[in-house]
């Protein structure tokens, strides 16, 4: 390379784009680090318990993960803009009871779905509007929503589950499509859509831009407030999808649903490489992050680790996974 440069010295333009394979290599490791960790975890679980690596169990894990996974995709958008969404868990409850009350027969399937998605998106819209127009930290805006939405869910349902849902509605939770459970299909489809949206559209690029430098984004002509509102709305919309499927899965709308889901969703995003300081994150990363949490829960259950120890181990393993991952990043 030294000779190369000596020659290049003479050249008037040395701004050529060189491909450097060593860098490519370490970039691969850092880029797919969390995926490798995930594979390592799968391998470990497969060794530790023979019941882990079976078709049904794997399907099982992915289905369990799909709800949180879809929520986490929206959260990823939000975190990339330097925001946070603490309201997801409570919004799930609110959507759940309201949609369920319209899915008790007499209504066509369209009504509860529209209501569910609408309410999800609406809460997001409110979150975004309060955070941007009110200029208050998203942490507080969504914390308020977290509290208020739970209250509304309880109020609406009087604290009780709303059951007797129509069969067509229940399909969203337990039905199969193309040989796969519907939630898994949705997880993949929404993952693909979100990934394309984030990576290949103006909307996605603007999302990164705002998280990278809000001031600069404004000067580049991005309407920051409007964009942020849309991001929160999209997150709410995805939460609505997860809530509908979850409601269908347990065949009841429940006001106590989704407690602490927001933390799991944020954790999935962060484990998957999304940075809370903004501007960094990917959807596949988040999906892997969610799967890591899912594999962990499933594996520990399969091995019948006591609940107390499960919690201790879960804490340690999540930290370790991110630790290994960030060490990889450091090397590059």
């Amino acid at each position: 390379m030294k000779n190369q440069q000596t020659i290049e010295k003479q050249a008037p333009v040395n701004g050529r784009v060189r491909v450097d394979w060593k860098e490519k290599g370490s970039e691969v490791v850092s880029r797919y680090g969390i995926f490798l960790i995930f594979l390592g975890m799968v391998a470990l679980m497969s060794i530790l318990t023979p019941h882990f690596f079976t078709y049904f169990n794997l399907i099982n894990v992915v289905r369990q993960v799909s709800f949180i996974g879809i929520v986490a995709m929206g959260v990823t958008f939000v975190i990339i803009t330097k925001g946070i969404d603490l309201s997801s868990g409570s919004v799930i409850a609110l959507v759940s009871v309201m949609a369920a009350s319209f899915a008790q027969g007499g209504h066509s399937l369209v009504v509860p779905i529209l209501i569910g998605l609408g309410i999800g998106a609406l809460t997001g819209l409110i979150n975004g509007t309060i955070a941007t127009k009110g200029m208050i930290p998203p942490f507080i805006a969504t914390l308020g929503m977290m509290t208020a939405a739970r209250g509304m869910a309880l109020l609406y349902s009087n604290g009780r589950p709303i059951g007797n849902l129509t069969d067509s509605f229940l399909f969203m939770g337990s039905g199969d499509l193309l040989g796969l459970p519907f939630p898994i299909i949705m997880f993949l489809v929404m993952g693909l859509i979100s990934h394309l949206l984030l990576n290949n559209t103006k909307f996605g690029k603007s999302t990164y831009a705002i998280g990278g430098n809000e001031q600069a984004a404004r000067i580049c002509g991005i309407n920051v407030d409007r964009h942020l509102i849309l991001v929160y709305t999209y997150a709410g919309f995805l939460t609505g999808i997860a809530a509908l499927m979850l409601t269908a899965r347990i065949s009841a709308g429940q006001p106590s649903m989704g407690v602490m889901y927001e933390l799991d969703a944020i954790a999935a995003a962060v484990i998957g490489g999304t940075s809370l300081t903004g501007g960094i994150g990917t959807i596949p990363g988040t999906m892997i992050g969610a799967l890591i949490i899912g594999v962990l829960n499933n594996g520990l259950d399969l091995m019948n680790v006591s609940s107390y120890w499960q919690q201790i181990l879960k804490g340690i393993i999540i930290v370790t996974a991110v630790l290994i991952d960030s060490r990889k990043n450091r090397k590059s």
């Binding site: 604290g159 009780r160 979850l246 899965r249 347990i250 429940q254 019948n304």
Partner: protein, 303 residues
């Protein structure tokens, strides 16, 4: 009302553990109904499962000067300071639903309810009977550290210990939630273990387990048991999906608590300090009876 109480309204301060629990919501309704019947001013507050918050609420009732305090404790281990507060303020105190230890009970004016541990015992005894005293049991517990989780599980285990051919092969928490119940059961089903019975700390989790079992086609060969016996759970008993539930009478406890509280407030002598509203076993055989009870209650309520 009947006009016999021309004197001023009795004020009851009720410190309740948490408001987003299904069974408790029936208890609260019953207390409210009871309060309406007796023309009582009921102040009901939510401790959000936080003992220290509950203690503060009791203190506040004391400084406000309510006539009587009703507590459904977040944790019976933390009842002592609440009782002390009430005693110091000279306000009678009634404990509902969760029974404090004996040394605290001596200062409590009345207890209305049952013993949590009994719920677990009744539940597991019936499961043992169905299983002919042998088999593999999975215990699905509520939110770890919650009073009802601890006591009911202890009750379950006491029974198991009496049956050498029964063993607990799996134990995990589903945090009282149906969704978590499905997930835990799904994972257990993959664990390759033969599960003869799933015993859950409440009906919601049991219903979750039922969903997962049904999907796996294993519901018929597995006994499922819950606790609570709320109207929606009874449907599952009726259909035969939920083999066992244990009825904890929220109406009896709620109205009983208000009755007792009013008596204490008016200085009436109690016939019995302990107002037992026992747990009752529900199976498909007697489920009708409980459904009727709910019907009667709901009818009265709407009148």
């Amino acid at each position: 009302s009947d006009g016999s109480n021309a004197d001023r309204k009795v004020v009851v301060g009720a410190a309740m553990p948490v408001f987003d629990d299904k069974w408790l919501s029936y208890l609260y309704d019953a207390m409210k109904d009871g309060a309406k019947d007796k023309n009582v001013d009921l102040k009901m507050v939510d401790a959000k499962n936080d003992s220290s918050k509950q203690l503060s609420q009791v203190e506040k009732f004391a400084t406000e000067g309510v006539d009587v305090i009703v507590v459904c404790p977040v944790d019976t281990a933390a009842v002592k300071p609440m009782v002390n507060v009430a005693k110091q303020a000279n306000i009678p105190i009634v404990i509902v639903n969760r029974i404090p230890p004996k040394d605290v009970m001596k200062d409590v004016d009345s207890y209305v309810g049952s013993e949590s541990i009994k719920g677990g015992i009744i539940q597991m005894e019936e499961v043992a009977k169905i299983l002919n005293n042998k088999g593999n049991v999975a215990i699905m517990t509520g939110q770890l550290g919650h009073e009802a989780q601890v006591k009911r599980t202890v009750g379950n285990k006491e029974v198991i210990q009496k049956h050498p051919d029964m063993q607990i092969i799996l134990e995990g928490t589903a945090k009282w939630q149906r969704a978590e119940g499905i997930q835990l059961m799904e994972n257990w089903l993959q664990s390759g273990k033969k599960i003869d019975a799933v015993v859950a700390n409440n009906d919601e989790m049991a219903i979750g387990a039922i969903k997962a079992l049904k999907e796996a086609g294993k519901l018929d060969e597995t006994v499922v048991a819950g606790v609570d016996g709320t109207p929606d759970a009874l449907k599952y008993v009726k259909s035969g999906d939920l083999d066992v539930s244990v009825f904890q009478d929220p109406v009896g406890q709620g109205k009983g608590a208000i009755d007792t509280a009013v008596k204490l407030a008016k200085g009436e002598k109690l016939k019995d300090k302990m107002v037992w509203i026992p747990y009752e076993l529900i199976t498909k055989r007697n489920v009708q009876e409980f459904e009727e009870r709910w019907d009667v209650y709901n009818k009265n309520k709407s009148n």
